[in-house]
Symmetry: D2
Subunit: 135 residues, 4 copies
């Protein structure tokens, strides 16, 4: 199983008046993890969208918050594929600050074409996303 780790700093813009990161921004961080996961397995998501017309449309997203993240913290997102078929993929995420788990999450996506209708993931991406071929 491929696991990607990507690290960045918390932006001032991401905090709210509670003095910690606003909760919706963790989903932006999952996007960063997802994109870097794709890059690490050889898929540039930008190309997948532009050249192959395959969109990863979110159908479900969840986050559990354990400890707050603060401005200027270095956050590491660990991302992996939890499950995948030719129709959909599910990513899992863990977010760390100073090696302490601060949040975990998951997102489910359907593969859509440019017309927003479901498509099967092109074969060239199967192995990368861990899609098993049928016998």
């Amino acid at each position: 199983m491929e696991i990607n780790e990507t690290t960045f700093r918390v932006r001032y813009a991401e905090t709210d008046q509670m003095g910690v990161v606003y909760y919706a921004n963790y989903f932006v961080w999952m996007e960063l993890g997802r994109v870097e996961y794709c890059r690490s397995i050889g898929v540039r998501y930008r190309d997948m969208e532009q050249q192959d017309g395959v969109l990863l449309a979110v159908i479900d997203a969840q986050c559990r918050y354990r400890r707050p993240a603060r401005y200027d913290d270095e956050v590491t997102v660990r991302t992996w594929v939890f499950a995948s078929t030719r129709k959909a993929v599910e990513f899992s995420y863990e977010m760390y600050v100073r090696e302490e788990l601060i949040a975990s999450g998951r997102t489910k996506h359907m593969f859509l074409g440019r017309d927003f209708r479901p498509v099967s993931l092109p074969v060239k991406y199967h192995a990368m996303f861990g899609v098993r071929e049928r016998a």
Copy 2:
């Protein structure tokens, strides 16, 4: 059971290059629903935070996406308390565009004091959030 409905238009800033609303923004909309729910039951969240020092810290958040929302759509968020104790509250949300359900979600919150430690919800808020008193 109290249900609040609040309506607003999708902002250009909330869209992404897929031409639809970016998925993290639905959690901002849940915040809008939550705040208006509180206002409708007589609680101004700003006062609860400033005067009573009670913070509603998110510990879990989830969203299911059914249909995309688009720029300039009028979105209605229906918000209600799904469960509540003196320690925590769980909100449920449904989001509609032209009376069609586009997404549903839920958020769980702990009540924290200004020092970020758990507190019991002050008694004056119990009835409003539907907290049952002990026998």
Copy 3:
């Protein structure tokens, strides 16, 4: 001269750890003012983009901040066209909380086609944006 006023509440998501609204969000508010200005003169910006393929691309934006806006404040944005030609339009904005001016701004936009090349504003929009016809 047409002036539009639109009012909304500050979102929790718009604050930062300084306890006030993060500075970039004032430009989102200008967008809200601009869109409602357009609606008030009979132009739905969404249609202008989709049906006529005319984009309002920002080329310059400025904001002066006088007093901070805070969570749950009611903000009124006053928007008007400061100058316009068939190639470009400049909007001015004033933002108020409790009738006190908290910020002022302006944005300049070029009219672009779907290919991101400059276009002349279609004649049907001239009067609305105050574009003077040539003799």
Copy 4:
């Protein structure tokens, strides 16, 4: 004159339905440049706020947009102090994609204390921000 360069990738969340980066996000990038500029001269902005109670409150911000930035582009922000006194500082910014200037900006800030009243920049920061001492 100290000039800081910091580089990051455009996030999907930062795009809008025009397929390019939403204009308000350039001001978030200026914040990233500003913070990294401070770090490069030995000031951790987080500490300046927390330990010395000095806030950099924006009073004016401007951006000129030359070419659109797109999802996944690598953006480099060049940041320097354009002018500074014991009361205020002005930063200048240039933003590049593939060595092409895509935008330039500036922000003016007053130094405020925790009570949001103007303060003089503590002497220990004078040299770093290029504040000239009086004879």
